[in-house]
Subunit: 140 residues, 2 copies
DNA sequence: CTTGCACCTCTAGTCGCTAGAGCATGTAGG
DNA sequence: CCTACATGCTCTAGCGACTAGAGGTGCAAG
């Protein structure tokens, strides 16, 4: 059997070495076997699990949700209703975040366009920040 | 002179009480005068400053940037080039974040739509997470 | 005068890592 | 076989921007 070091695991999964150790410490990844010299030795399944975690993190899932998703993956007989619920909740979050960022973008554009590059006391950036009432697109 | 307590400052500015104390501790807000009983007593200018900070935080500016923006506001003779640069940088960040969230939204939608609500081993949510190659809209 | 809320300070916890110190191990070249 | 040097190990502390809690004091109403 090929022994995968933590460095190789990091390269193959795209998860950084200290992060892998961190995931082990919080119980997201099982502690792997060790070599004679006490070095972690991973299996291909661990790499897949790490890639799963990484992808889920990139999608913005929190560690708690990932824990549930991993538990579901480990037990394929279960209904995927939980996974679906988690993904749907995340989708709603993302949609809200997009809406709020769009409003924010508009507000920033107004600020930047309004800036005449003169003195601060005529600057729209400062002005808009100081007085929220000037926001054209309320986002909160 | 009317004395504004920290609680009233919180209500008027929309910044929570412990957060106001935190801002004082990191030097974002000057320490106000105190009453006989050692209670903080704010001026209307402090409330405006807090509202400024709150608004900037809502727009996603980091405390470091807010520090600069506040310094600019305090000295209105200065050129607003820095304020403009900060706002522009933030605008670019926001635009990138929106793009990445849109990609993410698409991916989540595919996951959720593909979920047949059956068993986990046929669930697209789990499947897509496990295999990044299935992303239709690569976002990273 | 007492009740009860608001205020005070201080410490520690949150989340998801990241950085650093100070060692041990593994590997490639000479 | 020896020496470099990369990589591994553990442990602690730090990041940002708060938030929570303990344990105490101030103050205003009934």
């Amino acid at each position: 059997m090929k022994k995968i070091t933590i460095g190789d695991a990091a390269r193959q999964s795209g998860v950084k070495v200290p992060t892998i150790r961190y995931y082990e410490s919080i119980g997201l990844l099982a502690a792997p076997s060790r070599s004679q010299g006490n070095q972690r030795s991973y299996e291909p399944a661990d790499i897949r699990r790490l890639a799963f975690i990484r992808h889920a993190r990139e999608l913005g899932f929190e560690v708690g949700s990932i824990r549930t998703l991993l538990a579901l993956q480990d037990d394929p007989d279960q209904s995927c209703a939980s996974a679906d619920a988690i993904a749907k909740a995340r989708l709603i979050e993302v949609e809200q975040r997009i809406r709020s960022l769009m409003a924010l973008k508009t507000e920033l554009e107004i600020m930047v366009e309004g800036c005449g590059h003169g003195r601060v006391d005529q600057c729209r950036v400062i002005e808009v920040l100081a007085d929220h009432g000037q926001c054209m697109h309320p986002h909160h």
